[in-house]
Symmetry: C2
Subunit: 256 residues, 2 copies
């Protein structure tokens, strides 16, 4: 039987240790094609490059393994991987392992998950993996059984149409992890603040800072699972419609 | 009674005709604060600037009207407008009027809607307006009654918690518009293709191209409303969870 084709990308750039680990894990499951950005693209959201040309460079090619770097965003990487590098839909797209959480509201800002959503739009079974440790020296080895288990299940079962997965992994010793929980996205947010500073030429500038605030007390959320040392799996889709609000808005006199 | 404070931003940059029109419309409803980018930020998705400092420059200030330009993304503009320029939550955030559709899947790629989602995360009633015409010479005058009606309703009623609005307006003569419809986001997508070219130095590069494909035949979608000359209003939220898929994933043996 032909080995599955697996497209691997991320938003921390081609040299990120999290990407290198994900490549290592995926090579045990199939033929791997890597398309990653030449720069750190963290916080790029669902940006696409439409105003400048994209360049793709081959870094490595052998039987069962190809690696490319490009100058685009994670969404560009996903699109280039499918359309240009592989030339058709892979059996699986994985993005990560991100250095830092993409749970709860972080999914909105995440380049890692943007690549995953793009795969999902293109009907490719797609998973984003993130570790709750921002450090480039983070320890990823304990992620392997969970990454393999979830990716293996998706290769076996596929995913429901229009659904992709947002997987987050606690940054604890492997034996402390209690298992995998399917969750909903917690209603949390970043409370942004700007740090006002003055440069050497006496011009003002601002750095964005902020703290994470979770007022969602549900026990079925990704944040709750992660705080209790479970790996969280949130099924994600690209329909942003707040369906429950449609009837309320229909009570407004918009056509009066 | 104090006039409402209205924050205006967009993703086509401070000079875009659609922004100038939205400012004109909003000045009839309240005190207006404009924070827009110095560049075109179309297709930036929910990008935020965390790795470089942001600069804000005052362009105009008079009683009831202030205008600033910054070097960030639409999400940065929304955050700077709330935190730095106004210093507290405005009564309304509006983004647009975008030159081009943000209906259906476009909401995912849209900088216009990213600013709106950011306002929504910060509990500010927020609306994105888009016209179905990409041209910078587009005609916006027929948008006024619909923009005023929808913004007026939001100022009067507020919005349900966690909900913002994605409003799209057909590019037709004003009298052809049949009214306003509250809709769901159509399940459509862009089928991406890359145009492979070679530069004068004989290096390959790619331009992203593509066509829009809508296989959603529902009569309750934004695409259907727009094709029938209605203004579409989709209530949007930041919860990407595909709630209906949770039970299906729980059937997988993830902890076996």
């Amino acid at each position: 039987m032909a080995k599955p084709k697996i497209l691997v990308t991320n938003d921390d750039g081609v040299e990120a240790p999290g990407l290198r680990k994900l490549i290592e894990f995926m090579r045990k499951l199939g033929n791997v094609y890597v398309v990653a950005s030449d720069r750190i693209m963290s916080g790029t959201g669902h940006a696409i490059t439409v105003r400048t040309p994209l360049r793709v460079r081959e870094l490595h090619k052998e039987a069962g393994y190809e690696e490319y770097v490009c100058d685009g965003t994670p969404v560009d990487c996903a699109k280039l991987g499918i359309e240009v590098v592989i030339g058709h839909k892979p059996d699986l797209l994985v993005s990560g392992i991100n250095h830092g959480s993409n749970a709860s509201i972080n999914v909105i800002y995440s380049g890692t998950m943007a690549a995953v959503l793009e795969g999902c739009i293109d009907d490719v079974p797609s998973i984003g993996f993130s570790l709750l440790d921002y450090s480039f020296k983070a320890e990823f080895n304990h992620c392997e059984p969970y990454v393999q288990k979830i990716a293996g299940n998706v290769l076996e079962h596929g995913l429901p149409t229009g659904i992709c997965l947002n997987v987050n992994i606690p940054a604890v010793d492997g034996e402390e992890i209690k298992g995998i929980k399917v969750c909903r996205q917690a209603k949390a947010r970043w409370v942004g603040k700007f740090d006002a500073r003055r440069d050497p030429a006496k011009r003002d500038y601002y750095w964005l800072t902020g703290h994470f605030e979770n007022k969602d007390e549900g026990e079925d959320t990704d944040q709750h699972a992660l705080e209790n040392n479970f790996v969280s799996v949130v099924p994600v889709h690209t329909d942003l419609t707040a369906h429950h609000a449609i009837s309320e808005l229909n009570n407004w006199k918009l056509n009066g």
